[in-house]
C-alpha cells in the first residue's frame, strides 16, 4: 500500500458549504490550503450533484469560486486518525496519506437523526435526506409511492425534490405540533430570504397532505416496506408506500473534533468569536458548532477561513451575518424538539443497533451506554454508534463517550502503514 505525506498551512476537513467557504477565504490570504472530503465531489450533502443546477444560486457560485481558487481538493479521501498533533491520517484509493497542517478547520457537517420503531430496518425505509441523496445519485423514483416523515425543515425540501423527480408523495408527517411550527413560521417572517424559500416550497408541495403532530408508529412489509402506520394524538391509520423517507432533524458530526481534543458543550463543538475551538489552531464551522442551516454555515466558514489564514479583520466583517443567522438556529431547535411519544414506539423485539442487531428489550435493562456496549455490543459495529448513539441518547439519556481511532473502519493495512510512518 502506498504511503504518502502532504503538508498545508490550512487544512479544511469537509467540503460542504462551510468547508468550501472556509477554503475559498483562506486561499485569499495566499497560504497553502487543502480541502479533504470523503465524497468524490465537493458540495456536501446539501449541494450534492448541484454543480450543473443553475437554480441553486449559492451552490453554483460557491462551487465556481472553489474551482477557481488555489485550494487543493483531496477527494474522495477519508480521515481516520490523528497519529500526532498537527497530523491527520487518511485513506483513499491511492492508499494512506498523512496530512500535516499548521491550522485545521473542521467542517464535518451533520447527519440525520434516526429513531427506532417496529419495521424501521426493512429495506426501502431510508432517511429523508438518505433517499434524496440516492435520487441525486441517479435512482429513478418516478411513480413510486413515498411517505416522508420525521422532523425538521429537511422534510419539506426532500418532499419537493422527490416530487420534482416524479415521486407520488403520499404524505408528509412532521412530529412537531402546529403550535410550534406556527411560532417558527413567525420567526421566519422576519427573514426575507427564508420566507421566500418557504413559499416556494409550499407551491411545489401543493396537494400533498402535510400533517403536523403526526409520526410513524411502525413500518410493515415482508422483504421491504409496503405500508406505514401513521399516528396523531387522535387517530392511527395505514398508508401504503414503496418507500418511507424518515429522519428526525440533524445531529452534528463531532467524532473528528473529539478525536483531536476539541471541547464539546451540550454535544456541539465550543468555539470563540473567530470559530477557534478549545484547541489552539483548530477551528470549527457549520453544523458541528450548532445546527443552523446553510447561511449560518457559510458565514461561519468565511470567518474560520479568514481567521485561520491570519486575517482576523476580514473575519470580523461576517460577525453580523453570523449573529443574525444564529437566531434562526435557536428557533429551529425550539420548533423541532422531539415529542415524548417517540420514546414509546419500540417493542422489546425492535432492533436499535442495526450493526449488531441489538434489541430494545436488552438495552432497556442496561444502566449506561458503557454497560450496553460491553454487555450487548450496541454501538460497536462498523458505524461506531453514529446511528444508534443519537437514538439511545434520546431513548435512555445516554451520552456518547469520546471518539476513539480509527473514527472510520479502515483496512488493517492502513493501520499498519500509519504505524510504520511514525
Amino acid at each position: 500500500m502506498n504511503n504518502s505525506r502532504r503538508s498545508f498551512d490550512v487544512l479544511v476537513v469537509g467540503a460542504g458549504p462551510a468547508g468550501i467557504a472556509a477554503a475559498c477565504c483562506a486561499t485569499q490570504g495566499g497560504v497553502r490550503v487543502g480541502l479533504v472530503d470523503n465524497n468524490a465531489r465537493p458540495g456536501g450533502q446539501i449541494w450534492r450533484g448541484e454543480a450543473q443546477n443553475s437554480d441553486v444560486v449559492d451552490a453554483a457560485s460557491w462551487l465556481r469560486k472553489l474551482a477557481s481558487s488555489r485550494a487543493e481538493i483531496l477527494a474522495p479521501m477519508e480521515v481516520f486518525a490523528q497519529p500526532e498533533a498537527g497530523k491527520l491520517a487518511t485513506t483513499s484509493s491511492d492508499g494512506v496519506c498523512e496530512l500535516s497542517y499548521k491550522r485545521l478547520i473542521l467542517c464535518t457537517g451533520a447527519r440525520e437523526r434516526f429513531l427506532p420503531f417496529p419495521g424501521w430496518t426493512l429495506p426501502n425505509v431510508m432517511g429523508a435526506g438518505g433517499l434524496q441523496a440516492v435520487v441525486k445519485s441517479g435512482m429513478d423514483i418516478a411513480g413510486k409511492k413515498v411517505v416522508v416523515a420525521g422532523s425538521g425543515p429537511l422534510l419539506l425540501a426532500v418532499a419537493a425534490h422527490l416530487r420534482a423527480h416524479g415521486a407520488d408523495v403520499r404524505a408528509i408527517a412532521e412530529q412537531a405540533p402546529w403550535s410550534r411550527l406556527i411560532r417558527f413560521g413567525m420567526a421566519l417572517a422576519s427573514r426575507g430570504r427564508k420566507i421566500s424559500q418557504a413559499f416556494q416550497l409550499k407551491k411545489q408541495l401543493s396537494r400533498i397532505a402535510f400533517r403536523a403532530g403526526c409520526w410513524v408508529a411502525a413500518a410493515e412489509g415482508n422483504d421491504k416496506v409496503e405500508s406505514v402506520t401513521l399516528r396523531t394524538e387522535r387517530k392511527t391509520w395505514k398508508e401504503r408506500c414503496d418507500y418511507l423517507a424518515c429522519g428526525f432533524h440533524l445531529v452534528p458530526n463531532t467524532e473528528l473534533a473529539s478525536l483531536v481534543g476539541c471541547e464539546l458543550r451540550a454535544g456541539f463543538v465550543r468555539t470563540d468569536d473567530f470559530q477557534e475551538s478549545s484547541v489552539s489552531g483548530i477551528y470549527c464551522a457549520g453544523e458541528p458548532t450548532g445546527i443552523g442551516g446553510l447561511e449560518l454555515s457559510i458565514a461561519e466558514g468565511q470567518i474560520a477561513g479568514f481567521a485561520a489564514a491570519g486575517r482576523r479583520e476580514k473575519a470580523q466583517e461576517y460577525f453580523g451575518e453570523r449573529k443574525s443567522q444564529r437566531r434562526f438556529s435557536t428557533a429551529l431547535e425550539r420548533a423541532f424538539m422531539l415529542r415524548d411519544e417517540l420514546r414509546a414506539l419500540s417493542s422489546a423485539e425492535t432492533i436499535v443497533c442495526r450493526c449488531e442487531d441489538v434489541k430494545f428489550g436488552r438495552l432497556r435493562e442496561q444502566p449506561s451506554w458503557r454497560a450496553a456496549k460491553l454487555q450487548t455490543r450496541c454501538g460497536m459495529g462498523p458505524c461506531q454508534g453514529r446511528i444508534c448513539g443519537p437514538a439511545v441518547e434520546f431513548l435512555f439519556g445516554w451520552k456518547a463517550e469520546s471518539a476513539r481511532p480509527p473514527i472510520f473502519p479502515v483496512a488493517v493495512g492502513s493501520l499498519a502503514a500509519t504505524a510504520c510512518a511514525k
Binding site: 468524490a40 432517511g127 435526506g129 434524496q132 441523496a133 445519485s137 441517479g138 442495526r354 458505524c383 446511528i387
Partner: protein, 82 residues
C-alpha cells in the same frame, strides 16, 4: 452527458453511467436487499451518505464497500452480501 458504463450486479449486466453510485446500479438491477444483518435480516441503504454502513457490498472482490459512496466504472463487479 455522463459516460455510459456497463457493470455487473451479482453476475447480471446493468447499464449505468459514470455519475451513478454502485448503490443505484444495484437498485436498477431490481435488488432491494444489499446485505444480511448479523441475525439474518435483509437490509437496504439507510443514510445514503456513507455513515451507516448498511449498503456494504463486495466491489471488485473487496468486501464491505459502501455502495452509496462509490461511483460506477466500466466492468465493475458488484456483489451483494448473499
Amino acid at each position: 452527458m455522463p459516460k455510459a458504463v456497463s457493470v455487473t450486479v451479482n453476475g447480471a449486466q446493468v447499464d449505468a453511467t459514470e455519475d451513478m453510485t454502485a448503490l443505484v446500479a444495484i437498485l436498477l438491477s431490481g435488488t432491494t436487499a444489499l446485505r444480511r444483518s448479523v441475525s439474518g435480516e435483509p437490509r437496504g441503504a439507510l443514510c445514503g451518505m456513507g455513515v451507516c454502513f448498511e449498503c456494504g457490498v463486495t466491489i471488485n472482490g473487496e468486501r464491505h464497500c459502501r455502495s452509496c459512496q462509490i461511483r460506477c466504472a466500466q466492468e465493475m463487479d458488484i456483489r451483494t452480501d448473499e
